[in-house]
């Protein structure tokens, strides 16, 4: 028995609070388009014309309300990537896996997502990728199962 186990009591605990994260009516359109049409939507600022992903209902530069949607991608380019080799309960897949920032065609910001069907050693910045959609889609960002090198 270690000195710590012998002399120091601790009580295992957990902060667990049920919660319903709210996508809002606007953000839900993005998720529904993913689920029902396997389409990736960007939202377009009416003033500066920039197309953002993930969706947000205001443009931080222009401070105007965003109401317009445009279809973006589905192909895109790898802007940066890392190889996750550690384990954590919240990671969506078993490590090692590649996480990447992806600039979808027609977008002005990058989406962080998973990259698969490729040897991590072969991934390069600038590589063209395309989404693989999940067969059972649930209106979640993971309805895009992952991106893979474009063919």
């Amino acid at each position: 028995m270690s000195e710590q186990d012998k002399w120091c009591y601790e009580v295992p605990g957990k902060l667990e609070v049920p919660y319903r994260y709210f996508a809002g009516e606007f953000g839900s359109k993005f998720l529904v388009a993913l689920r029902d049409q396997a389409k990736i939507l960007g939202c377009k600022c009416p003033k500066c014309g920039k197309v953002f992903i993930p969706p947000r209902s205001n443009c931080e530069q222009c401070f105007v309300k965003i109401t317009d949607w445009v279809e973006i991608g589905p192909k895109g380019k790898v802007v940066s990537f890392c190889v996750v080799r550690y384990k954590e309960p919240y990671l969506p897949v078993e490590p090692p896996f590649v996480m990447a920032l992806i600039r979808l065609k027609g977008a002005d910001s990058d989406l962080t997502h998973l990259l698969s069907e490729v040897d991590p050693a072969q991934v390069k910045i600038g590589m063209e990728v395309e989404p693989v959609f999940s067969d059972s889609r649930k209106a979640s960002i993971l309805d895009i199962k992952y991106f893979k090198p474009a063919v």
């Binding site: 993930p54 940066s80 890392c82 996750v84 550690y86 919240y90 920032l101 990058d110 997502h113 910045i125």
Partner: protein, 383 residues
């Protein structure tokens, strides 16, 4: 014109991977007792009349993480506010309390025990739950995404990044409060196991427990409370966008703006010439380079060469992280507070074997959020 604001006492616990003998309250007790004894001050009107604390609800696994330490900071029948951000923001807020006349003497106390939870799980929860969290983001993989982009953008060599770790480890050996007390070579850093490519084990700051306290006072009180107050000449902070994909990750625009605000307030025109030392809250090796560039010390992409030249080593042109930095072990939330504490120790000429000779002006830096989303900069001086 309002009186200047000075730091009159600082105290830190030894930083350790697991402080199993002490609760976080007892770490706070240690450092608050220390700064009270240094100044002879107690709590109450005419003495320490205000407190700003720094802690994190998730790391303490409760809401209102400052509630259990009120009795230690004079908040039983006394004022207290918590900065739920990097600890340097707590110093900034305390200085504002004093400068505004709200308080004459304010205590700052920050604590964090990373060992009681899982840092990755906590930082994972900082991300947007619908579009980002499900992908598995946390501060570690966010940093790895930024490291890759920064290094590729400027062709930064892994050796140059590793050299920053070598420097911090070398300095850490000279700081008895530093958690990691082990020198490493560039080869050892580059051969340490990959954790989240391109980041390796030695590129990443270790899990750490500790607390820091300091006392800030208005000029007329400060001069009577210690021999050498350290004056807060300027401070600034700045946020960047939440989504990583909205940012230009190869630079650190928010640090640039935070520094500009602090430099302007302090009247700093040529940071590289006017600063005698810097303490950076770099939790990942590559940030040591990126942050130097954002602070205007090096041109974009050139900090690696500067670090390789030895210029940022103790005895060099502009020493960085004489404390050993965050890479030698400081908890996430109070790193900026530890940086400020080291600057004060240096500017008081009390840094012993790691003393920067003749140090007059120092820069303390704090960062929070994924891939350096938010930055705080403070300029401190003994003149």
């Amino acid at each position: 014109m309002a009186e200047r604001v000075g730091i009159v006492a600082v105290a830190q616990t030894k930083f350790e991977p697991r402080k199993w003998k002490e609760r976080f309250q007892e770490m706070v007790w240690e450092v608050v007792k220390d700064v009270r004894e240094q100044t002879g001050l107690g709590h109450g009107p005419g003495q320490i009349d205000n407190a700003v604390t720094c802690s994190d609800d998730f790391f303490d696994c409760r809401t209102i993480s400052d509630a259990p330490i009120g009795d230690l900071v004079g908040a039983h029948y006394g004022p207290e506010e918590k900065a739920a951000s990097d600890g340097l923001q707590a110093v900034f807020y305390a200085a504002a309390c004093v400068a505004s006349g709200h308080s004459e003497i304010t205590l700052v106390a920050g604590h964090c025990k990373e060992s009681q939870s899982d840092r990755n799980m906590i930082t994972h929860c900082a991300f947007d739950p619908i579009f980002s969290r499900q992908v598995g983001l946390d501060y570690l993989n966010a940093a790895a995404l930024q490291a890759r982009m920064y290094c590729e953008c400027f062709g930064v060599k892994p050796e140059a990044v590793a050299r920053a770790v070598v420097r911090d480890r070398k300095h850490g050996l000279l700081n008895p409060k530093a958690q990691v007390q082990k020198a490493v070579t560039i080869e050892q850093v580059l051969n340490s196991p990959l954790v989240c490519d391109p980041l390796r084990e030695m590129d990443i700051y270790p899990s750490s427990d500790g607390a820091v306290a300091l006392i800030v006072a208005k000029e007329s009180r400060a001069k009577k409370l210690c021999k050498q107050p350290v004056w807060i000449l300027g401070a600034g902070n700045c946020y960047d966008a939440h989504y990583l994909g909205d940012r230009k990750l190869w630079q650190s625009a928010s640090l640039k703006f935070a520094a500009k605000r602090a430099y302007n307030m302090a009247g700093i025109k040529h940071a590289k010439k006017e600063l005698d030392l810097l303490e950076l809250s770099a939790g990942y090796s590559y940030e040591e380079l990126l942050f130097l560039e954002a602070l205007g010390i090096c041109n974009p992409g050139k900090a690696g060469n500067y670090i390789m030249s030895g210029a940022t080593d103790l005895g060099g042109e502009l020493p960085v992280n004489t404390s050993g930095g965050k890479l030698c072990g400081n908890p996430l939330i109070i790193s900026g507070l530890a940086r400020a504490a080291e600057c004060v120790i240096q500017l008081r000429g009390e840094a012993g074997r790691r003393q920067v000779a003749g140090a007059k002006v120092a820069l303390a830096h704090g960062a929070t959020g994924p891939a350096g989303q938010h930055h705080s900069v403070m300029i401190l001086s003994n003149k």
